[in-house]
């Protein structure tokens, strides 16, 4: 029996509506350039949000991802500048920088995960703490200013954001791969099922011989790695990191996950929904910039209304469906 209720199509319908609205308001909306811009912009939050989907599905939360991205970007830039004299400009330098980003991401995620699972502290508190720590650290290492990648090194690294194959930019390709891998992991692997089981009822999961702590730890480690991956693609864009890098990314990522239909209290996750959620968020920004619909002072209000509407739409349907 094909199940096509509005609860699943809700976010998709909102996305289609936004695309139609955008195309109606501005001729350039559907141009290849604009579509590339929007998708490439979405990639950072998108990859993070895919990781966040697993964390939230298993009943956790991570508020530190935005600050973590800034911190990783800072460490990556410092490491690359430091290695420049020995490695010279070339692929080894870029690969070394990427390795640093992934390593720092892994350690940051591991730190969050261990504090939550081993020390048994609420995820909200742990990641609120690390959010402040990462943000302060990046401000401190940047001396309150901006850390910039060496000019020549950046010119070499730049194509990682702006280049691509077959006209598709690298961030979009990587985002697509991450999204597909995430969807498979959630739907077709033991890891995904365990995440949902833990999120619905961690006691029952434990009695069913699921290693609850270890699974939760993995979700934070995976998220840390994805933040590292997002940073790898973010750094070549502007070649700099400062205290304002990645500001509020955590909230955007969480909002995208919830818009996509994942339950904030855990137990049910939908990776493709998250991708739709991310696209909805960046499209709203894009459309508001392309069309002079309202005073720019009201941009935040429009975003708020659409986010709430997108969720109301599907919640209304799913509760009706449940009766």
């Amino acid at each position: 029996m094909p199940k096509l209720s509005l609860s699943t199509t809700g976010p998709l319908a909102a996305l289609v509506l936004l695309i139609v609205l955008g195309a109606f308001l501005n001729d350039n909306f559907l141009s290849a350039g604009n579509i590339t811009n929007v998708l490439a912009r979405s990639a950072f939050i998108g990859m993070i949000a895919v990781g966040m989907t697993f964390v939230i599905t298993s009943g956790g939360l991570d508020l530190s991802v935005g600050s973590m991205a800034a911190f990783i970007a800072g460490m990556m830039i410092m490491a690359m500048n430091a290695m420049l004299p020995t490695l010279g400009i070339g692929i080894p330098l870029v690969l070394a920088g990427m390795a640093v980003a992934l390593l720092v991401g892994l350690l940051a995620g591991l730190g969050n995960g261990l504090l939550i699972t081993r020390a048994g502290i609420e995820p909200f508190i742990v990641t609120l703490g690390t959010m402040g720590i990462f943000r302060s650290l990046v401000t401190w290492i940047a001396d309150g200013g901006t850390l910039s990648l060496d000019f020549e090194a950046r010119q070499f690294y730049r194509p990682v954001y702006y280049g691509g194959i077959f006209g598709i930019a690298w961030p979009i390709i990587v985002f697509a791969v991450v999204a597909v891998a995430g969807e498979i992991a959630m739907r077709h692997t033991r890891f995904g099922r365990y995440c949902e089981a833990i999120g619905s009822n961690d006691k029952v999961a434990r009695y069913s011989a699921v290693k609850v702590e270890r699974m939760q730890l993995w979700t934070y480690v995976a998220l840390g790695l994805l933040v590292g991956l997002a940073t790898i693609l973010y750094v070549p864009r502007l070649g700099s990191a400062s205290g304002s890098t990645g500001l509020l990314w955590e909230l955007e990522a969480i909002a995208a996950v919830i818009i996509g239909g994942t339950a904030l209290k855990g137990g049910y996750g939908r990776v493709w929904g998250t991708v739709v959620g991310v696209l909805i968020l960046s499209l709203i920004d894009n459309i508001l910039n392309l069309a002079d619909l309202v005073s720019p002072y009201l941009n935040g209000a429009i975003q708020g209304v659409i986010i709430v509407l997108a969720v109301v739409l599907q919640r209304g349907k799913s509760s009706a469906e449940g009766r």
């Binding site: 501005n26 811009n37 401000t139």
Partner: protein, 319 residues
């Protein structure tokens, strides 16, 4: 001040009571509180750096001065800081850059009412007459100087886009002055959006401006962080030769480019983060000398061109 040395240590004890109000003694230490927003973006980073440098230098020069530096991320916390300074650090003077004018007016007035010296920097309080000294950059001139450059260097009918900062009165003053300056020149502002003085935000806003408008002759980015984001978006679209950009505030990377004669970013308008140094120095003078420093001290916004750029280049500052 040499005269004071004749009194010596014992005499100072006897004088203690009368000097408590006199406030010019070598032997008495004065505590000056400095409360500024934390280094959340380039300009504030520079301001924090200059504040620290100045305090270090003044503490070395004047052993009788003590400084308490507090940086905050939001207006509410700044109120707490001011209360703490008054209650526990026993400050004699305060140098404050109010996070926001309205919420900080009351608390700063309380410091003044307690009989302390108050220096307000950059953002004025919403009630006049509270501060002893007001030190600020000139926001109206900031917009006006930029506007005049646009007027002088663009033909009638030219199309420009404007990136605004975080919605504040300060931003309004700048944009109003800019619009007034180009008034009657036939230059058309085809789009205006908030880039929030943020490099990433400016990048995305400019990307969208570039998709939307086939012809743009110039960009007023109004801030050097935003100018860098704008340049990156223009480079991506391959439209570097079509338009030039004017930022603002004098970031060292931008000043360097102007020194090197970069066509894409021909000039800059100053709004020096080192204004905090002026405020702290003048407040210190109040306690160590008889120099009159009360009143208003407005630091002009000047046009930085290739000829004079060297004067505004501070390679050691983080901004």
């Amino acid at each position: 001040m040499k005269r004071r040395d004749f009194f010596g240590a014992t005499a100072a004890l006897a004088l203690g009571v009368s000097l408590a109000t006199g406030a010019m003694a070598q032997d008495k230490t004065f505590v000056i509180g400095v409360s500024i927003p934390s280094a959340t973006h380039g300009f504030m980073g520079g301001l924090n750096w200059h504040a620290q440098q100045t305090i270090e230098r003044l503490e070395a020069t004047y052993p009788q001065l003590d400084f308490v530096l507090a940086t905050v991320g939001e207006p509410g916390k700044q109120v707490d800081d001011l209360e703490d300074m008054l209650a526990t650090r026993n400050i004699d003077g305060l140098v404050v850059l109010p996070f926001e004018s309205e919420p900080l007016t009351g608390p700063v007035k309380a410091v003044k009412d307690a009989g302390k010296w108050v220096t307000v920097v950059d953002r004025g309080l919403s009630q006049p007459g509270i501060e002893d000294l007001y030190v600020a950059g000139d926001n109206t001139a900031f917009g006006q100087v930029a506007g005049e450059y646009f007027k002088a260097n663009l033909q009638s009918g030219a199309k420009i886009v404007v990136l605004r900062g975080i919605p504040t009165t300060l931003d309004n003053e700048r944009v109003d002055a800019f619009q007034k300056a180009i008034d009657g020149s036939g230059i058309e502002i085809v789009d205006m959006q908030h880039g929030n003085w943020n490099r990433d935000d400016a990048f995305t806003v400019m990307q969208d401006f570039l998709s939307k408008h086939p012809k743009i002759d110039a960009v007023w980015a109004a801030d050097d962080d935003m100018a860098l984001g704008v340049m990156e978006a223009i480079a991506q679209a391959g439209r570097e030769d079509e338009m030039w950009i004017v930022g603002g505030a004098g970031m060292k990377e931008i000043i360097k480019r102007i020194m090197d004669g970069d066509k894409q970013i021909p000039v800059n308008v100053t709004y020096p983060p080192a204004q905090i140094s002026a405020a702290i120095e003048m407040t210190a003078l109040r306690f160590v000398s008889d120099t009159p420093v009360y009143g208003r001290f407005i630091i002009g916004s000047t046009l930085v061109t290739q000829e004079n750029a060297e004067r505004f280049y501070f390679p050691d500052s983080p901004f």
